[in-house]
């Protein structure tokens, strides 16, 4: 039986705007993702996709509901404990890459290894030497030889590959990608997406991608639609272009 790595139950999140009624962004989201799954979350602009991803990634708090990461309940943890859990089990790929411009590609990739409790030994896994592991992943995403390049010397596609390598460096259980190809042209987007899919498959990592782009979404194993704060399986009519895959939550 495949291990469930991320579970969300009845997630609710609202924001209170000045002088206005509370805006309910998430109204009871349920989601279960197993190791190796690839999930696309689609939805209109402002539907709350990024908020959902931030909640699942423990980057923001929720009003109610439960989040479980690798069998551990995470929604009520302290900030430091959430940071450690994030570091241990969750990788992020952001639309704007979010690389530190003063650091080289290799240092950016190795960054998560410098935080967290067990970067020297990751459970029973082989010892993670930051530089060695970073070079390994840069090679995996096709950036061998660019280890010392700063982000400003890399193209958008290359920067996103560095971000993908960084997301994988801690051997996370799940990678959360927020519009990972949103800032790239079609050809580069396709290539970067392939790198992301190949790398997550290679490392056995679950992948959740928030996207507007059906072409990206159809390459995922499962497609979900965030509509009015609730996740739905993508309607069949919309999925005609999809590559298909398991649709059960």
């Amino acid at each position: 039986m495949t291990e469930v790595v991320l579970t969300a139950r009845a997630l609710r999140r609202s924001v209170r705007l000045p002088g206005a009624e509370p805006l309910h962004i998430l109204r009871g989201v349920d989601l279960e993702v197993a190791a190796g799954d690839s999930v696309a979350i689609e939805g209109r602009s402002g539907s709350g996709k990024t908020t959902l991803l931030a909640a699942l990634g423990l980057l923001t708090t929720i009003d109610s509901g439960e989040i479980w990461v690798k069998g551990r309940r995470a929604d009520h943890l302290s900030d430091a404990a959430r940071a450690r859990l994030r570091n241990d089990h969750i990788g992020f790929v952001f639309q704007s890459y979010s690389l530190i411009r003063q650091l080289s590609a290799q240092s950016n990739v190795a960054l998560p290894l410098y935080y967290g409790r067990s970067w020297r030994r990751d459970g029973g896994q082989p010892r993670l030497r930051p530089a060695q592991r970073a070079r390994e992943l840069l090679k995996l995403v096709g950036l061998e030889g660019r280890e010392r390049s700063r982000p400003r010397h890399l193209s958008g596609g290359e920067q996103q590959r560095v971000a993908i390598a960084r997301a994988l460096v801690r051997r996370p259980s799940v990678i959360l990608a927020d519009e990972p190809t949103g800032a790239l042209d079609v050809a580069t987007a396709s290539s970067v997406m392939q790198v992301l899919l190949d790398a997550t498959r290679e490392e056995g990592v679950a992948l959740i991608v928030v996207t507007h782009d059906p072409a990206i979404a159809k390459r995922m194993g499962r497609r979900l639609l965030l509509h009015e704060g609730v996740l739905h399986d993508m309607p069949a009519a919309t999925r005609t272009t999809s590559a298909g895959g398991p649709s059960a939550t």
């Binding site: 952001f94 690389l99 410098y114 970067w119």
Partner: protein, 405 residues
């Protein structure tokens, strides 16, 4: 170890900011030390000059007419009466002026006066070097226990005329007296631009009492001498009592007028304003350095905040972020502060002495550790603040919102 890696990564990621912060701190500390050192040197030069000319702090002077029938015995009795003073950490000197015609040993012809250089001479008994600040530049003071050959100490202008230690001259204590062989035994800085020699009064009195009586500022029946008494903590009244006791011991009348002649307190009062000005300049320098460091920190708050939020998204805790920045700032502070102190110490040891004339009685200042300490404290505190502000801001931000912005 992990923290050190963070710090290394932090410093490597921001070499420009690190260098600028370090430079500001470096300049701040060195400027503080330099300003304080200049202040100390100025103060020391003024005080030293005053002590050189008129005596160290708390010095009294009085005129005593010593009976001239046995000047050596009278001077010895005065010295004996004043013995408690050097024992207690003070000093005294008995002075009288003399004729100063010198000549080369080869040029003296019996009966004819010397035609060599004319140098002002003061006959001295006691320890004038304790009463006035008179640094010895070469050789040393004469030894009053050795009567022959007669020795003398000269100041720098006199040394240019008579030569340094070991130079042998003939000297006529009075225009009509028989010349005496006299040897230069030391050169001192007395602050005078005129040539001046100091000859041991007691030895001359023992060897040629009439020469002393004729030379001294007195009459046939008495020898007029100036008595200088110094003690750093004694009261003027106590010194006056000693002066009276010394005069009586020498068989002289108790002196009428005893006055304090040192000017140290007077000049210290005047220099206090100057010291305050130096302090203000030091504080301004430190403030400018501090503002520079703070500015470097604040100028990059938004950029730093985004970077730190990314680090938090990657799993850094708030504590790790704050610690990382503070330790990095402290590392910059420690490295540059250490460097600044080394440069400042070398500067004070090498550069400060060059500010003082070789003929001045001033001594090179010691390193102003207190000023350097305050400078370091203020600079390191500011460096830490400059680092802590972005760290605190980043720690408060909601990661998701900050990354979206």
């Amino acid at each position: 170890m992990r923290l050190l890696r963070h710090v290394g990564s932090e410093l490597a990621a921001h070499p420009g900011r690190s260098a600028l912060s370090g430079l500001s701190l470096f300049i701040g500390v060195v400027a503080i030390v330099a300003i304080f050192t200049i202040g100390l040197v100025t103060f020391e030069v003024f005080v030293a000059g005053v002590e050189q000319q008129s005596g160290r702090r708390i010095t009294i002077s009085t005129h005593v007419d010593v009976p001239s029938r046995d000047p050596a015995a009278a001077i010895a009795a005065m010295n004996q009466a004043l013995t408690p003073l050097p024992t207690a950490g003070g000093g005294f000197a008995v002075l009288t002026d003399a004729h100063g015609r010198f000549g080369r040993p080869t040029e003296f012809r019996d009966g004819s006066p010397l035609t060599g250089p004319n140098v002002a001479v003061t006959l001295v008994s006691g320890d004038l070097g304790t009463v006035r600040r008179l640094p010895v530049l070469a050789g040393g003071w004469f030894d009053e226990s050795v009567d022959y050959p007669l020795q003398m100490v000269v100041n720098m202008p006199a040394a240019q005329i008579l030569g340094g230690p070991g130079s042998v001259w003939l000297w006529q204590p009075t225009p009509n007296s028989r010349p005496l062989q006299i040897i230069v035994c030391g050169v001192i800085a007395d602050g005078s631009a005129d040539a001046h020699a100091y000859v041991p009064l007691l030895n001359l009195a023992r060897l040629h009492p009439y020469a002393v009586i004729d030379a001294g500022d007195g009459t046939d029946s008495s020898l007029g001498v100036e008595l200088l008494l110094h003690h750093p903590t004694a009261t003027t009244a106590a010194l006056r009592e000693l002066a009276v006791a010394a005069a009586v011991a020498a068989g002289a009348q108790a002196p009428d007028a005893v006055e304090r002649i040192d000017q140290v307190d007077h000049y210290r009062d005047q220099l206090r304003a100057q010291q305050t000005a130096f302090l203000i300049v030091a504080v301004i320098a430190l403030t400018i350095a501090a503002l520079g460091i703070l500015n470097i920190g604040l100028a990059s708050v938004s950029e730093r905040a985004r970077e730190l939020v990314i680090r938090r998204a990657m799993g850094a805790t708030r504590t790790q972020i704050v610690l990382q920045l503070l330790v990095a700032a402290a590392a910059i502070g420690a490295i540059t502060a250490g460097l600044a102190v080394v440069v400042a110490v070398v500067g004070v040891q090498v550069w400060a002495p060059t500010l003082i004339s070789p003929q001045s009685a001033a001594t090179p200042p010691s390193f102003p550790w207190a000023a350097a300490g305050w400078g370091l404290l203020a600079s390191v505190t500011t460096t830490l603040l400059g680092a802590a502000i972005p760290a605190a801001l980043a720690a408060r931000l909601d990661i998701a919102t900050a990354l979206r912005d």
